[in-house]
């Protein structure tokens, strides 16, 4: 793994030397003759200082990593990210299948079928955005660093769209959810109050979290755009 003596590095060193020679030549031709010795002295001080800086930089102590623990954690994080995405996709497929069964076999009744229909459309849209954001993030890691900001902007914009979608979807979900609970309560001759309170508090919570993340991403996007 030690690459210090590879032909690539030898070539690179040679290139670097020639680059440095070019720079020195440029410097010499661009400076006035009267200031030659002063500038040479300054350059030599800078070179000396640079050598010392390099030495200092490389001598910095760093904490030692427990590589086995790091590997286990890395695997866990990868598994979690993929697992969550996989579960979301499975859940969406399950909702769609349940809706189709309800629709063609007519087992669940109109309120449940309507609710499953709305839910299957909603979750499909959410999963589409989630897959898009995840793939964007995973693709970004080994792209070239000059594209890092552009990639981050795209990921940030996707994330903002996802948050807006989250916020907007609260309205149809609130309407469908409230209607579903009222109809189901009427059918079962029970009070809809508990169900209504639960669904509305849940949707308010989702809205508040999505709004907070939306504002955070907007700030991040502004910063990214300002340095682009």
């Amino acid at each position: 793994m030690n690459e210090e003596n590879t032909p690539l590095n030898e070539k690179a060193k040679a290139n670097m030397q020639s680059e440095q020679q070019k720079e020195t030549l440029l410097d010499v031709t661009s400076i006035p003759v009267s200031n030659n010795s002063a500038d040479e002295k300054e350059t030599s001080v800078l070179d000396e200082q640079w050598a010392e800086m390099t030495q200092d930089w490389q001598a910095q102590s760093v904490p030692k990593t427990d590589i086995s623990a790091l590997l286990a954690q890395t695997k866990r994080r990868t598994l979690w990210a993929k697992g969550c995405l996989g579960l979301n996709v499975l859940f969406t497929i399950a909702v769609i299948i349940a809706f189709l069964i309800g629709l063609f076999q007519g087992e669940y009744g109109t309120p449940m079928n309507t609710y499953l229909g709305i839910a299957s459309i909603g979750t499909a849209i959410f999963v589409y955005y989630e897959v898009k954001i995840r793939l964007q993030t995973w693709r970004q890691c080994c792209d070239s660093p000059d594209k890092a900001i552009d990639n981050a902007i795209v990921a940030c914009e996707s994330s903002i769209k996802y948050m807006i979608l989250n916020k907007i979807s609260c309205i149809p979900f609130a309407m469908a959810g409230n209607w579903f609970i009222v109809v189901m309560a009427e059918e079962n001759e029970k009070s809809p109050l508990k169900g209504l309170l639960f669904i509305n508090f849940f949707l308010i919570f989702v809205y508040v979290v999505a709004d907070k993340l939306h504002k955070k991403r907007k700030k991040e996007l502004q910063r990214l755009m300002s340095i682009k």
Binding site: M16, Q49, T65, T74, T78, P145, A152
Partner: protein, 171 residues
């Protein structure tokens, strides 16, 4: 060799490089650890895409720079100024002789702290070339990592060095 064995070997070989690069971009130790974990996670994910003809060092540094560039761009700069150290350094500066630069007159730990502080105040492009150059990388390696020409590396490095010198004098 399995992916696991390769990953362990890479981390062993380039842990110091990754940590040094992070120090140049982020001051908070908690965020430094988070960034280290993010970088290693991305190395793990990108490992299957690694082509044997490329250099491992540049591959690892490229991933680290991707994460760090995005981090710097997203977050407000977190430049930690240690008042106690600064006051000690100010007293030390008064004793600096006429021949030595203020940087050279400090002891190694103080110089390291000053250097890191100054690097964190550079702009992103300058931070990138300076940290890689301080790691002893050639122009060609830096060019490969940042996907720019060697000439541009030279220009950016010259500007970065000048800016760094000014910052070190001002600190």
């Amino acid at each position: 060799m399995s992916f696991e064995a390769v990953f362990i070997q890479w981390i062993k070989d380039y842990e110091k490089l990754i940590r040094h690069l992070i120090i140049g971009f982020e001051a908070k130790p908690a965020l430094q650890d988070e960034l280290y974990q993010d970088i290693t996670l991305n190395i793990w994910r990108a490992l299957p895409k690694f082509r044997q003809d490329a250099s491992v060092k540049t591959f690892v540094a490229r991933i680290a720079h991707n994460i760090l560039a995005t981090h710097v761009a997203k977050s407000v700069r977190t430049i930690k100024t240690d008042r106690d150290i600064d006051s000690i350094l100010d007293t030390e500066n008064e004793k600096v002789s006429a021949e030595a630069t203020p940087y050279q007159a400090l002891n190694q730990q103080q110089r390291q702290q000053r250097l890191v502080q100054a690097i964190r105040q550079l702009n992103l492009e300058q931070q990138q070339v300076i940290t890689l150059s301080l790691e002893g990388m050639s122009y060609q390696e830096i060019a490969e990592i940042l996907s720019i020409t060697t000439n541009l590396v030279g220009v950016r490095l010259q500007r970065a060095k000048a800016a760094l010198t000014k910052l070190l004098e001002a600190l």
